[in-house]
Amino acid sequence: MNIDLTIAIIITMVGASTPLLLAALGELVVEKSGVLNLGVEGMMLTGAVVGFAVTYTTGNPWLGILAAGFAGACVSMIFAFLTLSLFANQVATGLALTIFGAGFSALFGQSFTGKPIKLFKSIFPDYLTEHPILKVFFDHSPLVYFSLFMVFAVSYFLHKTRAGLVLRAVGENDHSAHSIGYSVIKVRYGAVGFGGMMAGIGGACFPLLLTPQWVEGLTGGRGWIALALVVFSAWKPTRLLAGAYLFGLIATMEVYAKAAGGGFRIIPSELWASLPYLATILVLVLISMRHKMSSSAPACLGKPFISSN
């Protein structure tokens, strides 16, 4: 395989992985605090449509990303209120959030369908982004560097800071955390909001990084793959990075197999398109065969917290 093609594949793979990585990182923090938010897909769709709309109207992708993160955090608060303050079933509420995000984005995005924006490309000077070798490091959207930064930021926060320790304590043993004076509900509100912001930004990657337009259901189930990735990573941010890039590679194979034709034609394009979903199932199987999932999952995951006083 020649070097140009390899570099091209790497760049595409990194781009395809970034929305997954961002959304999954957010969900990882949410789950570490003991909350299971299945609404990632809905929050991503919300972020995607708001990010597109703001970028299209203002011409400024930075504003688009900010707005997408804000919108994601806003809709996640519906989930937080229902599950944390009213103790609603987390599985059902997460599903409702996904249905809501799909409806909202379809309605809000209707007037933007078919309109073009510019992809949010690398901000490095041309001699770096067009260099045949160095572009593998520099020809990426700022969103890609942001996602990599967040892997280390989340990892540092969870394992090296006091606030991270509190968040993990809330997820592992909510009643103990409560009894030594930490507000379980406040910590979880914060975590859900962070997860919403990250999913929103992850959603904005679709129009800004991958396909510079809005169509209904743009995220195509990637939010659910992000959820599976969190399980795959055993709730470790660095392993999440590897998982996201593996899925990005699978998605990239579809693109290149279609373009390459030849021997790849034997496999129908629909099968390539199914691969990320089938791979998700395979990964879930492999994890559960290797070790009991319950050993690494936060102990309070999905259980409501009702304070006794």
């Binding site: 249905i99 809501f100 799909a102 909202f104």
Partner: protein
């Protein structure tokens, strides 16, 4: 002053049945406000979506057509949810059922006889069950979460549908359109009322809901499902196998979703087309919850959601409301219902704050 929640010893039955009604009314009020803020005719939207389908008798047959698949899928899902088994890939099982029925129809296309439709029905159910087989196997053997696996397979089902109708099943006479041939007269559901569009799907849906009600309330199986869902330890102690229950409820929900797929493809569609995935499988989740996971409740909830679908189409033509608005209304309904659950399960008390 602060608000305190105290868990009730038993869920309030009065609230259990009152909240869904309250929720529909609240959705209408909140919907009117939200859509007015969004710059649409909010009151008009609520009138067209929730009331016109009921007052305009010409629309009643549309309600029956739309409610049937929602009820059939919803009944199956509600049985699973009762047992704490979260099949959310009913859309995929619905598509797989439709495809299996189509396969049977194509195989028997030059035959005739009353038995063709039952054959297609069996194929549809088996198709739906096949699509839930892997999630059931993985959940019972390896404890793999069925939420993600059943949902992932939905996307695979859509790809399979595309592959078949763009490829091997494409009709040679459709001028390049990606669709199968029209089914023959013996493969299309009969109309039960002459001069309307109501086909056999509607009475089958009612029958299934009633049968499920009897089975769930009178049989040991119904008791087993409820016990595994609400008290897994007691169920184990009582000798109910959890894995067997999971298998049964998943096969039932998959089979019913597959049957709904068959009734749709042999009913309103008459052939397999790319527009077949109509997200009935996802909407049926709302139906199951709004119906309080009770078969008769699901029957009523199916009609309510059908009203919003039919009403959405009316509102599109009369006041230019985008079709996506319906999804927003449905999501609001589910949010309000989940919020209302707090009234069912908790006593809410307002107490004076005490200094700790």
């Amino acid at each position: 002053m602060q608000i305190r929640f105290e868990k009730k010893l038993e869920p309030s039955r009065k609230m259990l049945f009152a909240t869904p009604i309250l929720v529909v009314v609240l959705t209408m009020i909140l919907g009117a406000i939200v859509f007015s803020i969004l710059g649409y005719d909010g009151l008009g939207a609520v009138r067209e979506i929730f009331l016109t389908p009921l007052t305009n008798s010409l629309k009643w047959q549309d309600l029956a057509v739309k409610a049937a698949p929602l009820i059939i899928i919803g009944v199956g899902l509600s049985i699973g949810y009762r047992a704490n088994v979260w099949n959310i890939g009913a859309e995929g099982q619905y598509i797989a059922g439709g495809l299996a029925a189509t396969g049977m129809a194509l195989l028997t296309h030059n035959m005739s006889g009353w038995y063709l439709l039952p054959l297609m029905g069996v194929a549809g159910m088996l198709g739906g069950m096949a699509w839930v087989f892997l999630p059931a196997l993985l959940r019972t053997k390896l404890k793999v979460n069925e939420i993600l696996t059943s949902l992932m397979l939905t996307y695979v089902a859509i790809q399979l549908l595309n592959y078949l109708i763009f490829g091997p099943w494409k009709s040679p006479t459709a001028f390049g359109q990606p669709q199968t041939v029209l089914f023959n007269d013996w493969q299309i559901l009969p109309y039960i009322i002459k001069g309307t569009i109501v086909q056999a799907g509607a009475p089958i849906a009612v029958l299934i809901a009633i049968m499920a009600w009897i089975i769930m309330s009178k049989s040991v199986f119904g008791f087993q499902v409820r016990t595994v869902g609400s008290a897994p330890n007691a169920a184990r102690y009582g000798g109910f196998s959890e894995n067997k229950t999971i298998w049964l409820v998943l096969l039932i929900s998959g089979g019913l979703a597959g049957l709904a797929g068959m009734l749709e493809v042999a009913g309103p569609f008459n052939r397999m087309v790319p527009q077949f995935p109509t997200s009935y499988g996802f909407t049926a989740i709302i139906v199951a919850f709004l119906g309080r996971l009770h078969p008769i409740g699901v029957l009523i909830a199916g009609v309510v959601l059908a009203i919003t679908f039919v009403g959405g189409e009316i509102a599109q033509t009369t006041i230019g409301l985008p079709n996506a608005a319906v999804g927003l209304f449905q999501a609001m309904m589910l949010f309000l219902l989940l919020a209302g659950d707090v009234l069912v399960r908790y006593n809410i008390k307002i107490v004076r704050a005490r200094r700790a």
